[in-house]
């Protein structure tokens, strides 16, 4: 299946900074043929309504600290769209990564390879 039929939501929670990471990831996903919907800094309501209205196949969260905020957003997305895959990156300390993984979220901390992230997107959206 073709990546271009797949839509990925990219949002930032927590700190409004460290934009380079999600921008580069969005670009890599675009170059892999995905349609990437960027919403930038967003609160839980924004993320949930974008996940519904945009009918995305995957949610990518860039987490800038404040892990509780991210977890609330993840739980709301999961409650509204059960089964929708979520992956996350950003400044995520190891203990927080465990909390996220316990919720079924794949974590790509700083230093992750773009190729691995694109691979994950293809696997999670079922194009691979």
């Amino acid at each position: 299946m073709d990546n271009s039929q797949k839509r990925i939501l990219m949002a930032k929670t927590g700190l409004d900074g460290h934009w380079r990471g999600p921008t580069i990831v969005a670009r890599a996903l675009r170059d892999a043929g995905f349609e990437v919907i960027m919403i930038g800094m967003a609160n839980t309501n924004d993320i949930v309504s974008a996940a519904v209205d945009e009918d995305v196949d995957l949610v990518g969260l860039n987490i800038g600290g404040h892990i509780d905020v991210a977890i609330r957003a993840i739980q709301q997305v999961q409650a509204t769209r059960p089964g929708l895959p979520i992956f996350a990156g950003g400044t995520i300390p190891p203990h927080a990564a465990k909390e996220l993984e316990a919720l079924g979220v794949e974590v790509y901390p700083p230093g992750s390879q773009l190729a691995d992230i694109v691979d994950a997107a293809e696997r999670l959206t079922g194009t691979k």
Binding site: R30, G33, E35, V36, M41, A50, V52
Partner: protein, 318 residues
Amino acid sequence: MTDACVNTLLAQATGGDRSALARLLSLIESNPQVEAHVRVALATTESKAVVLGITGPPGAGKSTLISATLPYAVQAYQRTAVLAVDPSSPFTGGALLGDRVRMQGHGLGQNVFIRSMASRGESGGLARTTATAIQLLDACDWPLIILETLGIGQVELDVMDLATAVVVVLNPGWGDTFQANKAGLTEAGDIFVINKADKDGVQRTRVDLQDSLSLLKTAIPIEIVETIAAEKHGIEEFWHAVERYLAAASKHGMLTEIQLKRRRRLLFRLMQRDLESQLSAFTRSTVGEQYMGAVLAGTMSIEQFKAHFFATIMPSSK
């Protein structure tokens, strides 16, 4: 995807289910059979929505203007849908749809439905399936649909086919008298916005635009509004200009005319699209390849080729 599934989704969507609407919009984009089915199902549904087209060059501030306008739109129409088109890469088919970045935090909750759409290779400033998406949003009782084109230059004016009113967003220092008088953008707008009006050159741009627009014969005078959308300046004036235009269009009986014009252009576009795909299928068929070879070798005229083509796609009307 069976027709029954599509019918179920359609019933849910028109009944107010946002997820069903969102799913159908994706299916329309990616599956021509579903698109055709939805078109047939909605063919006799009365269209009621006002479609406000927003167009202009990349970076003019279209998304920011829409974002700032949403509170006024929702106050006037209760519910407002936004369809924002951004370009797909011609190389990978991928797209970065970033209009929504500017539209976050409106706090208008369920009264606003925002959908990003990739152009998927279409060159007129919209996507191939935008018309059907609008028809569906209309059928789902979104009374105002704001349609944002991708950043356009001078010829990508498909938005005129779909919009009740077209807003052209420009910036100070845009072009000069010659740009303003070139065919295209200045002929497309019903309302002009000079956004980023805190920058130098507003007066010059306004004068050039006014000069150019004064030569057009329009039933409704074209207004030029200045805004600084990022700071929410001039937005109320802009919204009033939109309301004045729509009221005048309705008074002049132009809304029906606009509706007819839209349907007419849609008819032509869909027929063109179908004929093109038939032609491309014909040229790949064994017999079509032979005929094409004959034309290329100069042993058959294009007229004869055309006769063979139509006889093939419509055997009964021969």
